[in-house]
């Protein structure tokens, strides 16, 4: 299990959470937001990239 998690997510605790948050927000708000949902989705994933660089170096 640990090996599979390392293989898929590189042991990151931040990236699965960031992806899940981006997908959940888009699923909830895509109809009411229209095209800004694109920016929110990409923005959360970009923020996740920044956040994951703060994790311990492996």
């Amino acid at each position: 299990m640990k090996q599979a998690y390392k293989f898929i997510a590189g042991n990151s605790r931040v990236t699965p959470f960031g992806i899940a948050l981006a997908i959940a927000l888009v699923l909830i708000f895509r109809h009411s937001l229209g095209w800004p949902a694109n920016a929110i989705f990409l923005g959360i994933l970009l923020a996740t990239l920044a956040a994951t660089t703060f994790e311990p170096v492996q």
């Binding site: 293989f7 997510a9 888009v26 699923l27 895509r30 949902a37 990409l42 970009l46 170096v57």
Partner: protein
């Protein structure tokens, strides 16, 4: 999606993984003999071929396209984060640059401590684990867009052929391959495709359809360069 982009991305990603696998096989060959090294590599390639041949068509035929796009997008995004984060750490000085010569020497030192059967397991595991990532990338690229399977496979096979031929000719680790730069580019491409497909899967209508992809690539490239600069400053301070 342009077939050349799929082929180029799988070529770079596969090239990097094959270089790492070749380093392990070369180390096993020098310490335990070429027969056991090539036997381990051949078994791993056979297992990988079965996985790719079974999993690829099964995914395409049995999983609904939108669910497939979300799953594929999430996989590629996670892979992309791992590759790009490592590249950012390396370029900012937080992690040592990948050095195939050092990896080769460490592998040889480890092999000398163990029995002969350990050599087979090392060659087999090395090729299987490095190749598994290639298999996942090829399968996901082909499953997300019809018509990209051949391009993705051609990219991976071309990388395999070049690395294998170079390893057979040189018989030493590839210290001159720009692995760190390749890892940076692959990280950006995987992350961009992952973002695009997972977005489509959850029902997003991208601004310019497939024309949005270069903008996503540009956004990740700019973010990565900014992060490298910021971390470089933090490391120096």
């Amino acid at each position: 999606m342009n077939g050349w982009v799929a082929a180029g991305t799988t070529f770079l990603a596969s090239g990097l993984e094959f270089v790492e696998a070749a380093t392990i096989v070369l180390a096993v060959g020098y310490t335990a003999g070429w027969r056991v090294a090539l036997r381990g590599a051949a078994w791993a390639i056979a297992v990988l071929a079965v996985i790719t041949g079974l999993l690829g068509p099964a995914l395409v035929y049995w999983v609904p396209l939108n669910d497939l796009k979300i799953a594929i997008g999430v996989f590629l995004t996670l892979f992309g984060y791992t590759w790009l984060r490592k590249a950012i750490w390396r370029y900012s000085g937080r992690k040592a640059m990948r050095d195939e010569e050092a990896a080769f020497n460490a592998e040889i030192a480890d092999l000398r401590k163990h029995e002969q059967h350990y050599a087979f397991a090392t060659a087999f595991n090395g090729v299987l684990l490095e190749g598994l990532e290639v298999a996942v990338i090829v399968i996901t690229f082909s499953a997300a867009r019809a018509g990209t399977f051949l391009w993705a496979v051609v990219g991976a096979l071309a990388a395999c052929a070049i690395v294998t031929a170079a390893a057979a000719l040189l018989r030493r680790p590839f210290s001159r391959v720009p692995e760190n730069a390749m890892g940076f580019i692959v990280g950006i491409m995987l992350l961009s495709f992952g973002t695009f497909w997972s977005g489509e899967g959850v029902g997003l209508h991208w601004w310019a359809g497939e024309g949005t992809l270069p903008w996503i690539v540009g956004a990740y490239l700019a973010a990565a360069l900014l992060l490298i600069a910021a971390w470089k400053r933090a490391v120096r301070a």
